[in-house]
Amino acid sequence: MHDTQAIRQLVLRGRRRDAIFAIIGLICMMIGILTLAFLLAGLIQDGAHRLNWSFFQNFPSRRAEQAGILSAMVGSSLVMLITAATAIPFGIGAGIYLEEYARRSWVTNLIEVNVTNLAGVPSIIYGLLALSLFVYALDFGQSILSAGLTLALMILPVIIVSTREAIRAIPVSIREAAYGVGATRWQLVRDHILPYSAGGILTGVIIGLARAIGETAPIITIGALTFIAFLPASPITAEFPFISFEWLESPFTVMPIQMFNWLSRPQAAFQENAAAAGLVLVVMTLVMNGTAIWLRIRFRKRIKW
């Protein structure tokens, strides 16, 4: 085709289509961000005025103006404690095993396939598993312990995957160097692999915990109550042995459930409480996820192999 005029027309038309698509693409890209902005605006408008000190110090109450999220916050913290204490060692351990120890065999494949599958299982199914296993079969009851373990199982795949990716980023030469001076495998892991991958692992842990804090469905399923007007017994006691485990068995509530409970009530005052709780939740998860992302970027920049 040597007709320059025709070619020119064609090219102009093509450029115009490019430009139109670019605009559409930009809009599509912004939809998520705009939604977040609207959401935050709505939460702030409805709930910001409820965020005073008493909100954080009160228990839920039939009177909306006096209700607070104290029990929910404490409940969330204690549950997170269990979740972290369980998921972190198990997740990192599994990640280390799969990357450093495992040979290619059907067992290893089985484990890997399972990890991938579990990442896609809806969270409520974990609730069903926990109900049957932790609450009844193991008789942990509808307690903080059950909740913590449930969430730990749920975020296990996240931690395993991010541990593996962090370990994979370490070049083979480091391993060869360590073995070359006579280190054992465990020494290699303890002295080299873990320290160098710590950043990536930490990122995964934070993301996992952020997800766990916001999860409602599995916790409701195992029977967290939505109206808790007391705190579980404190882990630290005044007398010997100074540590109590009573709190593990205590009924409890967590923040997302508290928000859900308020949201389910028609009165506008409770909706405002829900908005306030939502604001606290969103800020918490945004800060946690933001920190994780920032950490990831920083670690990627620092270590140049």
Binding site: M29, L39, L281
Partner: protein, 314 residues
């Protein structure tokens, strides 16, 4: 070269202690490896656990409720006096909300991915990708708030007859929730299409849009399909948005403007009430849970087959 063999390769005539391995060190390593292995098997144990309890409890359920009724009855009134055990209303609820979500998220997510991968500058991409991750981290119950108190009223502005509880609002919000997942995975798939392929297209005089749609997207089909499957799984499994904003009445309808309940919302509803261990109500949540897992499994397998077909050859 493992730590064990180092001692052996230098096995000189010297049987002196220096090259012998310390038996305790050896055992220590084995123990550590065993512990780590056991820890890794938890993943398998969890899967076994899930499959196990779902099957066991569902078996008990189906001893009392016929499978035919379960699959064909159009009412699910298990909490009321007149008990019906048809799963169709719940299935419809799940499918309607998920379809609305996907009809919104698939085009928007894919176009956003194409834009990010092929049109946007590096700076824009570096800023937007983390933002999408932040978006994915917002708790679902907060999205429920969004659906109930912001989206539905907005929709009612256009459709005055829309009931306060409906499946359209939550469906759209679920769509917004899964957009980051679809965009992120699809964009990764597109970025990994080699530059040479794009150059081949540009060298033919193709525009950016032509190159993206005719060359890059087809080349990245495998990853894009995986992204869609992930979206479908997420949509099926979504609980709180529907529990808050769709009403909790199981309703056998394909009309998204009506209220409805999904499988997941039903489980929540039952769990909120009294749940005597071993009762029919208790077992029913496992039966519907099984249906949910089978649905997700079905699409995962479908997706896997599709990915195998479209394997990138480069």
């Amino acid at each position: 070269m493992t730590a064990d063999s180092i001692g052996q390769t230098s096995g000189a005539a010297n049987s002196d202690s220096r090259f012998a391995h310390k038996p305790t060190r050896h055992i220590g390593e084995r123990i550590i490896e065993a512990i780590l292995f056991a820890v890794s098997m938890t993943a398998v144990a969890v899967t076994v656990g899930i499959v196990g309890i779902l099957l066991v409890e569902s078996a008990s359920f189906f001893e009392q409720v016929s499978m035919i009724d379960f699959l064909t009855d159009t009412q699910w009134t298990i909490m009321f006096a007149d008990k019906h055990y048809g799963v169709l209303p719940l299935l419809a609820g799940t499918l309607v909300t998920s379809t609305v979500a996907l009809l919104f998220a698939v085009p928007v997510g894919t176009i956003a991915a194409v834009y990010l991968s092929e049109f946007a500058s590096v700076r824009v991409r570096e800023t937007v990708k983390p933002t999408l991750e932040l978006l994915a981290g917002v708790p679902t119950v907060v999205y429920g708030y969004f659906a109930l108190l912001m989206v539905t009223p907005a929709l009612q502005w256009f459709m005055p007859d829309l009931p306060g509880f409906n499946m359209l609002g939550p469906g759209l919000v679920i769509g917004v929730m899964i957009i980051p997942y679809i965009t992120s995975m699809a964009e990764d798939a597109m970025r990994s299409v080699p530059m040479q392929m794009r150059e081949g297209s540009y060298a033919m005089g193709a525009t950016r849009l032509q190159t993206s749609m005719r060359v890059v997207v087809p080349a990245a089909t495998s990853g894009i399909v995986a992204a869609y499957i992930l979206g479908i799984s997420r949509a099926f499994g979504e609980t709180m948005v529907v529990a808050v904003a769709a009403g909790q009445q199981p309703n056998f309808t394909w009309d998204p403007t009506e209220p409805g309940a999904t499988i997941t919302a039903f489980i929540v509803q039952v769990a909120l009430g009294d749940l005597p261990h071993g009762s029919l109500e208790y077992q029913s949540i496992f039966a519907v849970g099984l249906v949910l897992v089978l649905m997700t499994l079905f699409f995962n397998v479908l997706g896997h087959m599709a990915r195998m077909r479209f394997r990138e050859v480069y």
